[in-house]
């Protein structure tokens, strides 16, 4: 199976002949010799209100975006945007969490915190991608799923679990890009893909640093310490294999140059999709299963062995 994905390698260093498979990507933390930002810096950059959010990225990366609305059951959730667009002239389905760039917009978008109906809209669009053989691109950027009582009433947990389930067996290529905050299960609901990329200063964590600090240190003021301990910044995620590669941001951070950021995302998406669409869907699904199956570090004394950490994406793809 890896052989078949590695087929792109046999076509030469240029992969499929268009773009090198690692175009615009950082696949090795050696790139950060001595200059890794602190976890707390990453948290603050990832949350910068001027950071390019999903629609900023969509308008620059894709052409002819047409938004699709609604979950066909309760409501159209503005915290999730979904639609069909073209990437380099070819159609894709794109689904993302949408934060606001101002307080007003954040209120409208619920600060990027989806309700269950948002995830159900996403699921509907995933299925449309599968039905019409369109690749799926998801853009993750949320503090987390909305924790209010109406969200509980309408099944936040069920919606997230179902979204993860549908992505895990969706018979079409999926590329996930973490744009800013990858907040817990609410982020993972859009995060199950064949390739998971993240902007350099994005974060991805099991709980917010503040939430973790409040529970473990009994003080939200310890958020900085919690952020460090949870290894939620880009280079950490590359090391644990949670993301396959990082997309380089402009020098001052993505918020300083939306166009340059979008250009880097576009290059990465095109390179990944050109590769993934050549892989038979059955193989994609097996590899996707293996990708998430491999997370976890357990020790089995009787067997006397430690399960291998997941192979970095780079090695998985090129068979190294």
């Amino acid at each position: 199976m890896l052989e078949r994905i590695a087929g792109s390698r046999r076509a030469g260093p240029e992969g499929n002949g268009h773009l090198p498979v690692d175009a615009g990507l950082i696949t090795d933390t050696a790139a950060y010799a001595g200059e890794r930002p602190t976890a707390w810096q990453a948290v603050q950059t990832a949350r910068n209100i001027g950071r390019p959010h999903a629609l900023d990225v969509i308008s620059r990366v894709f052409d002819r975006f047409q938004e699709l609305h609604g979950d066909r059951g309760f409501r159209d959730d503005p915290a999730i945007v979904a639609g069909i667009a073209e990437l380099g002239g070819r159609p894709v389905v794109v689904v993302g969490q949408q934060k606001g760039a101002s307080t007003e917009e954040n209120i409208e978008r619920n600060f990027g915190m989806p309700y269950p109906e948002g995830y159900r809209k996403a699921i509907r669009c995933y299925r449309l991608a599968e039905k019409f053989h369109l690749p799926l691109v998801t853009l993750v950027d949320t503090p987390g799923a909305y924790p209010g009582p109406e969200a509980e009433e309408r099944g936040q947990a069920e919606a997230i679990a179902s979204s993860i389930q549908v992505m895990s067996r969706l018979a079409t290529p999926i590329v996930v890009v973490v744009l800013g905050e990858g907040g817990s299960g609410g982020a993972l609901a859009l995060g199950v893909g064949d390739v998971v990329l993240a902007l350099e200063n994005a974060i991805y964590s099991v709980i917010s640093p503040e939430g973790s600090a409040a529970i473990l240190w009994r003080s939200a003021a310890e958020a900085e310490r919690a952020a460090q301990a949870m290894k939620l910044a880009g280079p950490d995620l590359l090391e644990t294999g949670v993301v396959d590669a990082l997309i380089k941001e402009p020098a001052g951070g993505a918020h300083t140059d939306h166009d340059a950021t979008a250009a880097a995302i576009k290059t990465a998406l095109v390179a990944q999709l050109e590769r993934l669409v050549r892989v038979p869907v059955a193989d994609l699904l097996s590899l996707r299963y293996e990708r998430f199956r491999s997370f976890g570090t357990v020790v089995e004394p009787r067997a006397g062995e430690v399960a291998a950490p997941p192979r970095p994406w780079w090695r998985r793809v090129l068979g190294r």
Binding site: Y204, V206, A229, R293
Partner: protein, 283 residues
Amino acid sequence: MRLRNPFGRKPKEFPSHLWTQCPNCGEMLFNKQLARNQSVCTNCGHHFKLGAKERLELLADARSFTETDADMVSSDPLGFVDSKTYPDRIAAAQAKTGHKDAVLTGTATISDIPVVLAVMDFEFMGGSMGSVVGEKLTRAAERALADRAPLVIVAASGGARMQEGTIALMQLAKTVAAVTRLDEAGVPFVSVLTDPTTGGVLASFASLGDIVLAEPGALIGFSGARVTSETIGEKLPKGFQRAEFLLDHGFVDQVVPRAQLKERIAFFLGAFRVAGQDLRWSL
């Protein structure tokens, strides 16, 4: 179990190794009697939390449970330290509960139906799901698939294990993918939600059973009630995030008293018997 004493009796009359007070009705319950009643209050029916071993005794036919992956333990991928190191927390939980992590998995029969059975234990670090819970549940689902035996998981969890960071979060995707393969193969999966089942466990495999059962009064929700309450700045209604609330809102098939749980699971497994067994219609 903290001993409250609203009746003004002196605590020494009810030493806690002998007596437990029901948090619902206040009745003082003799521990042995409580254990005989499956840890259900004999006065009001309150369901106390149940440890994994007691849960196995309740559900699996006598001597039918064969544990798998019993020795699997967690490593410390992040070198995580809060007020204690993660390895110290694990060691304390192991000493307290007598098992290696927050889930026991294995094969068993339930009313003579062969199953793969997994039971979580809230006493082990709040039933949190890290690498070991994720791996053992995934292997359980994979074994169910290989054997075409139904999978029964009894959840009891505060959510993902923070000490393993994003790796713990990935266990949601891992376990969901595993039970999804059962779904595709038509192998039954019964999910039982007990007090409490919250956070990442509810937002992954536990919500995806073909049948979802819950114990009476169990706390079941995505967000902690504290977070939800702070979000809206007011107190939550009585019964919020309890099993009966989820039943009303359509997320649970039945709320089943503990005494009937085994029989009820067996009924559904009987109805869903996989191909080639005799009770089915010959479709």
